[in-house]
């Protein structure tokens, strides 16, 4: 659920909400291995395959927004305070709402299932073309660049143990029939945890109903939906029970996608200095009033598959649509913004900064003690609590001291392969990853998360690693973002099943045509 089933308006986990083509799943972005003719960046926006994989909904409009800028120094140690953090959010806001203008790739689908792809505000000017679905097409831009484009169906590039994650946060709609109107029956007020709580009968694995939360849902029993226990569950052998199974819940599932491979020189006139390519996706649905008008595809576009566009045309078109979903960072919406419809801000999620701190502290009280119980060190200050705690915050000043290290710690990488040029690139820190909510692709790296997002990245497990103490060591090595993906760790842990939380690989290749090679990390 990098962004699957978010926002709640399209969250088909609820018993009364259908799958929607407006549900954006993931945004991937990384430097292409193909540097013929200059550097290129691959961006893939995936979304629910409704009506079906390879067939797209003509009522939808998808946008990929792109803005390139230089790499900026990380916040200094002296500013690792609440005040410093809030000032950082303000500074980023100024950047995004002020000086930084995004370029845009916009895709709409005609009734005869052809995609109109429009490029707005790139240095070379606006242009548009119409392409077939489900085929890689190379577009020539007015200023002589080539852009590989694909719009159509693919295997879902995301691979994770979705039920495991929902079990960890006691998310009732995954396990029980919950209509979206029952707002109090979403994340139940039970401590979040990575290992099962003793007596958490609503969510603990039930051997007599092993598919509960996977393919089976039950009626939600009457409340109170709380937990009265005081310890983690252990079996007769003294093992904890993992909430995760390591199984790929997305195996065999397909998505629809907009994928582009764009030359950096097309995105920015200063590719040497603008090394960070920020991108995020949006889904928009045609408003009912404009559906009635049944405006045919613009005759200009039908007669001339390649055409220059008037700049003013973009906003007039957009007025006919309604924004539904945004996607930049995995988990920014689904895990940290709780899927709220009103929190679909995309890059402009600055005002969520204080909420982000409180939410991270809430998650920390759940995950932190369960990490400690496994004998690992956590970045979250839970005062050595022996068991996970359900705690929410109304004041950011109270949450901040707990989550400070989690927010500011540098996320170690397992080796240096991500930094392919060996440059002085600072390690990324959680606070700068999630706000703004963009996929920030560092063109001097492999683009592995959090320097972008590659198709092979197991981001769900990497997200959990934020709660590890990156100063601690395991077998003589500092913790890093892949620590929880290490099978050896689980083999030695008092836990069953002995598996990394999520699968290590996708069940199928996403796309070959963009010369994607698997990086080390």
């Amino acid at each position: 659920m990098a962004d699957h089933n978010d926002p709640n308006a399209v969250n088909s986990i609820f018993s009364d909400i259908d799958h929607s083509p407006a549900d954006l799943y993931d945004l991937f972005g990384f430097p292409s291995e193909d540097t013929t003719g200059g550097e290129k960046v691959v961006i893939a926006l995936t979304f629910a395959s409704v009506p079906s994989a390879g067939t797209l909904d003509p009522d939808m409009l998808y946008r990929i927004r792109i803005a390139a800028h230089p790499r900026v120094p990380s916040l200094s140690e002296a500013n690792h305070s609440l005040e410093g953090l809030l000032q950082y959010f303000d500074a980023v806001k100024e950047k995004y709402l002020g000086e930084l203008k995004s370029s845009e790739i916009r895709v709409t689908i005609s009734q005869d299932q052809r995609a109109t792809v429009k490029f707005f505000r790139f240095p070379g000017g606006n242009f548009s073309t119409t392409i077939d679905l489900n085929k890689v097409t190379t577009l020539s831009t007015p200023d002589g660049h080539e852009i590989k484009t694909f719009v159509g169906g693919r295997d879902d590039a995301f691979f994770n143990d979705l039920p495991g994650f929902f079990r960890s946060i006691n998310y009732a709609p995954q396990f029980y029939h919950v209509p979206h109107t029952m707002t109090e029956a979403r994340e139940l007020p039970i401590p979040k945890t990575l290992i099962e709580l003793d007596g958490n009968d609503l969510f603990n694995y039930d051997p007599s109903n092993p598919n509960l939360g996977v393919t089976v849902k039950k009626d939600l029993p009457p409340g109170p939906w709380t937990w009265k226990g005081n310890k983690f569950k252990k079996d007769e052998n003294g093992n904890f029970r993992f909430v995760y199974s390591g199984k790929d819940a997305q195996a065999g599932k397909n998505v629809n996608a907009v994928i582009v491979e764009v030359p950096l020189a097309f995105i920015t006139r200063s590719p040497e200095s603008n090394r960070i390519v920020n991108c995020w996706g949006e889904s928009w649905v045609l408003k009912a009033a404009h559906k009635v008008e049944s405006i045919p595809d613009h005759p200009l576009l039908l007669e001339h598959p390649w055409a220059l566009l008037e700049a003013a045309a973009e906003d007039e078109e957009l007025k006919k649509y309604k924004l539904v979903d945004t996607d930049g960072q995995p988990f920014a919406d689904a895990a940290l913004s709780e899927r709220e419809d009103s929190r679909q801000m995309g890059a402009n999620n600055f005002w969520l900064g204080p909420h982000f701190i409180k939410r991270l502290a809430h998650l920390g009280w759940g995950f932190g003690p369960s990490i400690s119980a496994l004998g690992l060190q956590t970045s979250f200050n839970h005062d050595n609590s022996p068991v996970s705690v359900h705690k929410t915050y109304s004041l950011v000043a109270e949450a901040f001291p707990r989550a400070k290290k989690t927010l500011f710690q540098a996320l170690n990488m397992p080796d240096d392969s991500w930094n392919r040029k060996g440059l002085d690139i600072p390690l990324r820190r959680p606070f700068e990853i999630f706000i703004p909510n963009v996929c920030a692709i560092d063109m001097d790296t492999t683009g592995t998360w959090p320097y972008g997002r590659r198709l092979e990245d197991q981001v769900a497990t990497r997200f959990l690693s934020m709660f590890l103490d990156m100063e601690a060591e395991l077998n003589g090595r500092k913790y890093h973002i892949e620590t929880l993906n290490d099978q050896a760790l689980w083999d030695g842990a008092p836990i069953v099943p002995k598996t990394p939380p999520n699968p290590l690989k996708n069940d199928a290749e996403f796309l070959k045509e963009f010369r994607i090679t698997t990086s080390s990390y």
Binding site: D59, P179, T181, D219, A288, V292, K322
Partner: protein, 351 residues
């Protein structure tokens, strides 16, 4: 099944829905979604006394936006207009969804603030996407009704046509279009369209309308069979224990086949279910038909005190005051009716 029944418009389908809801509650217990559906069904069928208890079957339902919306509708339906208006405004403040905006729009329309109503309907439409075309068609229908009520026939037609494009073949649009055609005097087209509606939805209230239309154009021999069928349908429904045709029976015996005592009987039954400006006006009209002008005036004044501003209500008041010899008041209300809808004496449907 509820949605299918709503689309089909045949009240007999709702009996199946009700059986299924009760069975589901029996099997699964009083789940919120089931209780909300039950409350909506009871509301639709004018069983307003049951709505509150339906919502009370689960502890939180009445406090949810959907429960609050239904409670606001209930306040409107039982004539507590000031509270209903405040509830609608509160709903829109809390949750400006298309349906809540439409609720407030309808309230403003009935209270005579047409400009505000139109603005709210437009806002409601702006909330809807291409995935909600039936709702959009319904809103366009309401906007058409508003225009028709104010005698703006061309604007009404435009809205009805948009509704038809949004959700083609929707019988409710055809039925309203037929009314518009009849109001315009295009009787042949109206009759043809009513015939098509009746072929799909053979409801007694539509049979009555077609019968009345034939009577209006002085074709009694064609009118009578439809009126007979309508009455049979109403009485069959009542015999089955349903109450949603009381209002039509009142009109039927007050207007179509005048029978004062019968009109008063059904009007009282309806009034006892829900005392609102519509049932009060119905009772006033029934008393008028029964020759009891004193009670007719009592109830028309009660209806007028609601604050509702409708040409039909004012026209009724004008007739009752004239019969009572209060010509000055009669003329005032007639003028008010004409100010709202210059064509208020044209053919119109009893709803």
């Amino acid at each position: 099944m509820y949605h299918r029944a709503s689309i089909r418009g045949d009240y007999r389908d709702f009996e199946d829905v009700e059986r299924l809801i009760n069975k589901a509650i029996g099997l699964r217990g009083a789940k919120e979604d089931l209780c909300l559906l039950k409350a909506n069904l009871d509301f639709k069928l004018h069983r307003v006394d049951r709505v509150k208890s339906d919502l009370a079957m689960t502890p939180r339902l009445a406090g949810r936006p959907e429960g609050k919306a239904l409670m606001a509708d209930l306040l409107f339906q039982v004539g507590r207009y000031s509270e209903a208006g405040e509830s609608y405004r509160e709903l829109v403040r809390e949750s400006p969804s298309w349906d809540n905006l439409a609720r407030l729009a309808y309230f403003q329309f009935k209270m005579g603030d047409v400009e505000e109503a139109e603005k709210l309907y437009l806002e409601a439409e702006d909330e809807l996407t291409a995935k909600e075309m039936r709702s959009y068609a319904w809103l366009e229908l309401q906007r058409g009704v508003l225009d028709l009520t104010y005698g703006r026939y061309d604007a009404a037609e435009e809205h009805y046509r948009r509704a038809d494009r949004a959700y083609s073949g929707f019988w409710q649009v055809q039925e309203h279009m037929a009314e518009l055609l009849a109001a315009r005097g295009e009787f042949d087209k109206a009759i043809e369209l009513y015939g098509r509606v009746l072929a799909r939805v053979p409801r007694p209230d539509f049979q009555q309308t077609l019968g009345e239309l034939y009577a209006f154009i002085d074709e009694p021999t064609k009118a009578e069979p439809w009126l007979d069928r309508a009455l049979a349908g109403y009485l069959e429904s009542v015999a089955a224990g349903h109450v949603h045709y009381y209002h039509h029976l009142t009109d039927y015996f007050a207007d179509v086949r005048p029978n004062g005592p019968e009109a008063v009987k059904w009007a009282y039954k309806d009034f006892q279910l829900r005392s609102n400006y519509g049932t009060q006006a119905g009772l006033a009209w029934a008393h008028y038909a029964n020759g009891d002008l004193h009670d007719a005036i009592v109830f028309i004044e009660l209806a007028l005190a609601s604050g509702v501003r409708e040409a039909g209500l004012f026209s009724l008041a004008a007739k009752i005051y004239r019969a009572a010899g209060r010509d000055l008041e009669s003329e005032q209300f007639r003028s008010k009716a004409a100010a709202i809808n210059p064509h208020f004496e044209n053919f119109h449907v009893h709803r």
